[in-house]
């Protein structure tokens, strides 16, 4: 399968990428690791007229200690996050979610920024971002702005990024003592999740992010509130499918996904020390 023809531009820096986005507007798509976009282009589900390759913008690939938070460059590959000492010690939930992305070959190429900016409800890492209350930095022609993870995912493959904005950095507060769990249910080893759950319990604060339970990555405020009010893991997890509309597909019906969300949330809460 071969993608439709397109013009190829390589951006040498974030600034160059932003100015190319300004120039080509709607016709252009950014290419990071290409592990979501290239398959879509091969199936001709996407046929952008212009590709702006940011894959070689090396100064957007980093994991830094920002004092109270960890700052991760958007072009950082999954593999680098998975093995990062800082991520494993300060925000281990993200390392756990990242280890579940595809297979080693996919993790060598795919980037954290691509995972987030794609806005795919089936992706593993956005659920961890939501549970960890990450902040996203978007950079456009007029400078940078911060977007809270709760405001970022707006619909199926849609985010709060404007057409001329680049996701440049992800900031996550350090939670070295938090208990956490990443739960993923799939049929074969390297598959996408049928349903997944990111759970973080940091003292009195609980974060619950769900994979594939809506048209976008979502956080379960109902489960979080139940844990805060002292509910058991089993009772709190009963809320996991309340008010959400998961997709039905060849792998699972709506009811089956709702069941999985309750089971995985309960397991994750138990693993995170909620009794």
């Amino acid at each position: 399968m071969i993608p439709a023809s397109f013009d190829y531009k390589r951006a040498g820096s974030a600034e160059e990428a932003i100015s190319l986005l300004g120039e080509y507007g709607d016709d252009a798509k950014l290419l990071a690791g290409g592990h979501s976009l290239v398959p879509l282009m091969k199936y001709r589900l996407a046929a952008p007229a212009v590709i702006i390759d940011i894959g070689k913008v090396a100064d957007l690939s980093y994991i830094n200690d920002g004092g109270d938070h960890i700052a991760i460059g958007a072009l950082t590959r999954h593999r680098d996050i998975e093995i990062s000492e800082l991520v494993n010690s300060q925000i281990p939930l993200l390392a756990a979610a990242t280890r579940n992305v595809g297979d080693p070959q996919v993790r060598h190429r795919g980037t954290i920024g691509g995972s987030v900016a794609h806005g795919d409800p089936a992706s593993d890492t956005p659920s961890a971002m939501l549970a960890l209350r990450a902040t996203f930095v978007a950079t456009g022609p007029n400078g940078s702005r911060e977007i809270a993870s709760d405001d970022f995912f707006s619909g199926f493959l849609e985010t709060a990024l404007a057409d001329d904005e680049l996701l440049t950095e992800i900031r996550i507060n350090k939670v070295p003592d938090a208990k956490f769990s990443f739960q993923k249910f799939n049929r074969r080893a390297q598959d996408w999740a049928i349903v997944g759950a990111s759970i973080l319990v940091n003292g009195a604060d609980t974060g619950v992010g769900l994979v594939n339970m809506d048209s976008k990555p979502i956080r379960s405020a109902a489960v979080e509130a139940a844990v805060a009010s002292g509910a058991t893991a089993a009772d709190a997890a009963e809320q996991a499918a309340e008010g959400v509309e998961p997709p039905a597909d060849l792998n699972a019906s709506v009811e089956y996904r709702q069941h999985l969300a309750r089971v995985l949330t309960r397991r994750g809460l138990l693993e995170s020390g909620v009794s």
């Binding site: 894959g55 297979d103 070959q105 996919v106």
Partner: protein, 149 residues
């Protein structure tokens, strides 16, 4: 780009997939296409020393990079230790998955030189083999790992 230690330079359409570039422009047909949808791992090669699926990359993305394919592993007539281990452990039958499997296995042990059986099985999750049942493949990789067998 540099392929197996030699410079390769060809003008290609931006939409050319890396695996097609390797097979058709470079003439290196050891790298196979299995599923053409990033599932089977038959097209696995190394870009800057790391295993990747070349059916899911554009050739233009690797301009200036170091590429290694199965043809670049052996040292003249001497097989790479991983190729030798596959040979000795009978880790292939039809051989279709083998180039990708060997490239993935070399990358795996580069990153985890002491991988145990569970880690080898997990590390090769991106590569499918329809013949061997994986047993002898895992045995071959473990024979080169420094970890518990």
């Amino acid at each position: 780009m540099n392929v197996n230690g030699g410079a390769q330079s060809h003008d290609v359409e931006p939409r050319t997939l890396l695996v097609h570039y390797i097979r058709e422009n470079c003439g290196l047909t050891g790298t196979n296409v299995g599923c053409d949808s990033s599932s089977c791992g038959a097209c696995t090669i190394h870009v800057n020393g790391e295993a990747v699926k070349s059916c899911t990359m554009l050739a233009v993305q690797t301009e200036g990079d170091e590429i290694t394919t199965i043809e670049g592993l052996a040292d003249g007539e001497t097989l790479h230790p991983m190729q030798q281990a596959f040979h000795e452990c009978h880790a292939l039958q039809c051989g279709y998955c083998t180039p990708g499997m060997v490239m993935a296995a070399v990358s795996l042990l580069d990153e985890q030189p002491n991988a145990n059986e569970a880690e080898v099985r997990e590390g090769l999750e991106g590569n499918l083999c329809r013949c061997t049942g994986y047993h002898n493949i895992v045995k071959a990789v473990l024979s080169l790992s420094g970890g518990d067998k």
